[in-house]
Subunit: 313 residues, 2 copies
DNA sequence: GCCTACTATCAGAATTCCCGATTGTTGATG
DNA sequence: CATCAACAATCGGGAATTCTGATAGTAGGC
């Protein structure tokens, strides 16, 4: 903020202060509007809640417009805020176009690419992807973030990651995808259930203790399909909050669960777990990115590298 | 700048740093491109040359594009720079639209208005203008900057002032104007030339010592008109770098000069100077503003206030 | 060959920005 | 009705960035 003081031939002093709006404040504005409250917006922007609060306050003061109604439930856009947030989006879009144009001109990509991972790095050929990207764009920094497919897709929509692997299908029209491969999903349990699993029908399976898949995980659909015709649905014995914890529970004999065949195989070989032979499912692995960024050189390079890393494999 | 460090299941560390482009850097970029060198750009932006230099450098590093060629004459846009500066303009225009939208919504104008003055405050009804603006928009801060008409018009074009008074005609197609009044310009000299001035023809006048008007001042045209048919052009005895210094020279008897009749009158009454009766000129006073900002509430309020302050008078 | 106009760089100063802790508010819950 | 949880605003101290003034380096004009 700059404060100046002028004295002309007049009888009064004239003060002026310029507190120019900045892009980081606009980024905060749209994030708060999307997140609905300061706390979540702060998390998304990797900063603190007071910082976010200050950004919004500064913008409101400078524009002389109340942008949000403060409620105990969070921040709700005012009518004026809704209008101005459209303009804020225009500004940020224009800024993005500048970045895109710059990366087209520079030829070599710089900055950072944020990639979402929905499962273990080996399956996603991450090492190959890394090599691909670095060989093409040595300046490029790679940021990885782990999560489950549905959340990662939402992060793409919000623009907080550039692209992401995900399992299953995609319901977001803003997100475009390429198909990479399919994973074979099988039913597995610790070795102690070997006999039961060998001869089991779906109805038998339902009587065994099941490990509940990650919420919103595409595995759910398979479970539903499996027990479609079974009257007595399976009992859930444990919750798994992530894929890896699910696998730990599986190996330690807590219950039966769905697992990717390639992940299961080493443990089968070691005799730790056993597979049900009745049925398996095909789960597509895709890579998604924001449709409107299709021409963005960063996205093009990313998608191409992902594709190549899977063609190699 | 944020620096993060991630460690996944991979064998390598991944570092990321985000240094987000900001509007102040784009404002600098555009100003440097227009000014042609860092020094002048720094003056326009009321900051120092090293600061400007750092902005440009940071942008170039982040975008990974060389924007300017550094020459001993200044900064010359590269081909890439020319492309990107268009995008930068888009961003700044979008940001301006946000501001305009906000001031339409807030009803009450806030922030600052920068007004250019080409002559003394009394003649421009500045006191009335101030009262007009403050009564309509108490929050509004007023900044004044003095200069000569041509430079002020250029400042309007560049957007460094919102509007300005100016004498004479305007050759900039980007600038729209309203006509306010006309000043009567007369030839005057110190009292010691009283006898000569009373009976002088233009040819006689040319023989007297003249005070050179401010460069690019519309007064020049009047001098040219006056001595159009005179073979022997007048001798310039002194340079006046501003209107007020010209008047000082005039009163102290250094030479003959053009002066606004309303300014001259008090001194005539005091017997300090005398006027030539041969011819006088009509010099229009206008108020200019950027054509594309015609709908901007700030501009509308400003132009309306200027108009009203002159209707009152 | 000197002078001028220009940009880049540096270390220190000034400013801004951010963080953690705290308070106050509201709505939900037992 | 009291308690608790979720949220935003505020404050002081600390961290980070930005700005400044001085200086060095470079090329063109006289």
């Amino acid at each position: 903020m700059v404060v100046c003081s002028y004295y002309l031939e007049l009888r009064y002093n004239i003060h002026l202060w310029i507190a120019d709006m900045e892009l980081y404040q606009l980024r905060t504005l749209v994030t708060v509007a999307d997140a609905g409250n300061l706390t979540h917006a702060a998390e998304r922007l990797y900063t603190s809640q007071p910082a976010i609060s200050a950004h919004v306050k500064a913008l409101e003061q400078e524009l002389n417009v109340k942008l949000f109604d403060r409620t105990p439930k969070g921040m709700r856009l005012t009518a004026h805020g809704k209008i101005l947030i459209e303009k804020a989006h225009s500004v940020l879009n224009a800024a993005n176009e500048l970045r895109i144009e710059a990366s087209m001109l520079s030829g070599e990509l710089a900055g950072a690419v944020k990639i979402g991972l929905n499962t273990n790095a080996e399956f996603l050929q991450l090492s190959k992807l890394h090599d691909q990207l670095i060989s093409k764009s040595p300046q490029l920094k790679i940021q990885l973030s782990e999560g489950i497919s549905v959340e990662l897709l939402d992060e793409i929509r919000r623009g907080s990651i550039d692209g992401s692997f995900y399992f299953g299908s995609n319901s977001l029209k803003e997100v475009e995808s390429i198909y990479l491969t399919s994973a074979n999903i099988v039913v597995a349990g610790a070795s102690k259930w070997k006999d039961q699993l060998n001869t089991a029908t779906p109805a038998d399976l339902a009587k065994l203790p099941w490990i509940y898949p990650v919420p919103f995980c595409p595995y759910h659909d398979f479970v539903n399909t499996l027990f479609e015709d079974v009257a007595e649905k399976p009992k859930w014995t444990a919750d798994a909050s992530s894929e890896s914890s699910m696998n730990v529970l599986l190996r330690s004999g807590v219950g039966i669960a769905l697992i990717r065949e390639d992940e299961a195989q080493p443990w089968v070989d070691e005799g730790l777990i056993t597979l049900w032979q009745g049925q398996s499912f095909s789960l597509p692995l895709n890579f998604g990115y924001l449709k409107k960024r299709k021409q963005d050189p960063l996205i093009r390079a990313l998608v191409q590298s992902v594709q190549e890393s899977f063609e190699e494999a």
